[in-house]
């Protein structure tokens, strides 16, 4: 509140000093009605196509989905090509990719190559590693499951770039470990289930513990037995994870809203407190109104170029 009052007084002070102020600090932008000027971004090369999604469709067609292990191609190479193609895949290709992965479920060379890939790329390309971890988890090969367990056990960095009390490098590894625990839970063996339960209770990362809980429940159809198993290992103050809503793709609003109602009913302690105004002063309110008046010329929202669906 004090901040806003002080800011209001300062505003009046500056209004006197700088009047008629209010104009943008930035130099004027080039008009949309003229060709790109020196101030507008330019491409070193002319774009190749004018219809983006036609290009995308051509890209997919030019790279048909192939097996993880292709005759005559070194496994490391075919695995790398598969992960790259899976990475650009569309939601509509999901089942086809699952089928192709399942065809290599008994291939130790594929599991070994995929495992090596996730360790090799994890500090270089986060999103590529996420994709590779997804393929490795879906494979459900014992070599892969062992690699996932090892990946989740990688120590979290304690030094690095600090942001809001977090370490960026640590966050990146935690997110990858969350994806790895999805794969471990999907293996659904006695060993992997025990490992997931151990992670749900004891992993040093709260995010990884939470994902272990979600994945364990998902792979056991949210059964009462699964909830009981989790209740036995989860930290008391994290039991809320067992009840939380899960918006799996395809979940209808009706189903999700029912989950949410149940969650809120079970956990009234999660109700947020009353919202608070900043205690804005009349002077500050007048200042903001004046600012809005100066900016009114920018109110028009321009429609983007039309993206035609092929």
């Amino acid at each position: 509140m004090l901040r806003r009052k002080v800011s209001g007084l300062l505003s009046v002070f500056v209004l006197v000093l700088l009047a008629p102020a209010g104009a943008s600090q930035k130099p004027p932008s080039p008009s949309v009605s003229v060709p790109p000027s020196a101030g507008a971004p330019t491409a070193q090369q002319t774009p190749l196509v004018g219809d983006p999604l036609l290009l995308h469709r051509a890209n997919l067609a030019a790279r048909p989905l192939r097996s993880l292990a292709t005759a005559g191609v070194p496994v490391a190479q075919s695995v790398q090509a598969f992960v790259a193609r899976a990475s650009i895949s569309t939601p509509g290709e999901r089942e086809q990719i699952r089928t192709l992965i399942a065809q290599s479920a008994k291939n130790p060379e594929v599991a070994t190559a995929l495992s090596a890939g996730v360790f090799a790329s994890r500090t270089r390309d986060y999103t590529q590693t996420l994709t590779a971890l997804g393929v490795l988890g879906e494979l459900r090969h014992p070599i892969g499951t062992a690699a996932l367990t090892k990946f989740i056990a990688l120590p979290l960095p304690e030094t690095g770039r600090r942001i809001d009390g977090e370490i960026a490098e640590r966050v990146t590894l935690e997110k990858l470990q969350m994806k790895a625990v999805d794969g471990l839970a999907y293996a659904r063996t006695a060993t992997s289930d025990a490992a997931v339960l151990r992670i749900a209770g004891l992993n040093p990362s709260r995010a990884v513990r939470a994902e272990a809980i979600a994945a364990y429940l998902y792979n056991h159809q949210n059964s009462a037995a699964a909830q009981k198993a989790l209740l036995a290992v989860v930290k008391p103050n994290e039991r809320v994870f067992i009840d939380r809503p899960n918006l799996v793709p395809g979940t209808t609003g009706k189903v999700f809203n029912a989950q949410l109602s149940r969650f809120i009913t079970l956990h009234p302690e999660l109700k947020p407190p009353k919202t608070q105004l900043s205690g804005v002063s009349a002077i500050a309110a007048a200042r903001d109104k004046q600012k809005d008046a100066h900016l009114v010329a920018r109110r028009a929202v321009v429609a983007p170029p039309v993206l035609r669906q092929p």
């Binding site: 509140m1 002070f13 102020a21 209010g22 600090q25 130099p27 932008s29 101030g39 507008a40 971004p41 330019t42 491409a43 070193q44 090369q45 004018g50 983006p52 890209n59 790259a84 990475s87 650009i88 569309t90 992965i101 500090t123 270089r124 390309d125 986060y126 999103t127 590529q128 994709t131 971890l133 988890g137 879906e138 942001i163 809001d164 960026a168 966050v171 990146t172 935690e174 990858l176 969350m178 994806k179 939470a210 994902e211 939380r244 899960n246 918006l247 799996v248 793709p249 395809g250 209808t252 609003g253 969650f263 947020p272 919202t275 903001d288 809005d292 900016l295 109110r299 929202v301 321009v302």
Partner: protein
């Protein structure tokens, strides 16, 4: 994600030269691009008509982006290319499914884009070399508000250096603009509640104001009844956007973009909220 009210420029004219827009020093890593960025990029192949629209709609200028790809707009290694690539996702990438999406493209576009709207005052975007933030919102008076994007949002090795997370930061910082416009007090730690506290594990925390699917018509995200029953926090808007990218994308959005969105949403849901966790989204099945 920080929210800053910058009055230094109006306190001392002597400081003005220091605060004038200057070209960036380009210390970000411009030698790599994330797989997700490349995958999304290859759906449009550097669409000139789009980036010539986007730089104006997001209020980007050569003064800030000059040596970050402004004159090399089809170079996906540069910050400008990555910036507009994420904007492409916001503009076209969501399915807007009435029965399954949290909010619609019209919400996310108005929140992210430059012009004054129901959501916030006008903003402009600038890249910064800082690595102690992901992004920040700065209130300016007079003039347009400012959203800064740090090098981490352009770094392939960082979990935020992908189109989904970058675009979600546009939502987060834009929501600080919404809070400012409505004079809402969301806390004194960079526009958040100071933490760690409750179920929030970081220093900048929010509350989650739970709502169901369909609670907000598309275009109505900005609305509030002034109570916690109909309200959003910056991290919540970010989570809901990421969930919509993950679970309700257009049919052509690459898997790498969707998976990165789910990972960011799920991590954020369990670490950012005093009354967390927020929603879990994405498929727990690995593929």
């Amino acid at each position: 994600m920080k929210h800053i009210v910058r009055f230094a420029q109006i306190l001392g004219l002597a400081l003005v030269p220091c605060l004038l827009p200057v070209a960036g020093l380009a210390l970000c890593n411009e030698t790599s691009v994330s797989t997700a960025d490349s995958d999304l990029w290859n759906t449009h192949g550097c669409w000139q008509a789009f980036y010539l629209w986007q730089y104006q709609q997001y209020n980007e200028g050569s003064d800030h982006w000059g040596d970050r790809g402004w004159n090399d707009a089809c170079n996906e290694d540069k910050e400008f290319g990555k910036m507009w690539n994420a904007a492409y996702l916001v503009t076209y990438g969501l399915a807007d499914n009435n029965s399954q999406s949290f909010h619609g493209t019209t919400d996310y576009r108005q929140l992210a884009e430059g012009p004054d709207s129901n959501f916030k005052d006008s903003v402009y975007y600038a890249p910064v070399d800082a690595t102690n933030i992901y992004g920040s919102f700065t209130y300016h008076w007079p003039g347009e508000d400012e959203i800064d994007l740090s090098c981490l949002l352009f770094d392939a090795s960082d979990s935020h250096g992908n189109p989904a997370s970058r675009a979600s930061d546009y939502m987060h910082e834009g929501w600080h603009g919404w809070l400012t416009e409505g004079n809402w007090n969301n806390g004194s730690c960079g526009g958040h509640r100071c933490g760690p506290t409750g179920n929030c594990t970081i220093t900048d925390c929010d509350y989650f104001y739970f709502h169901g699917i369909g609670a907000y018509a598309f275009g109505a995200l900005y609305q509030t009844d002034g109570t916690a029953n109909r309200f959003h926090s910056p991290n919540q808007v970010q989570v809901e956007f990421l969930c919509d990218v993950s679970d309700q994308p257009q049919s052509w959005v690459p898997q790498s973009v969707r998976t990165a969105a789910a990972a960011d949403a799920d991590f954020r849901s369990v670490t950012r909220f005093i009354n967390g966790p927020g929603y879990h989204c994405g498929d727990p099945r690995p593929w």
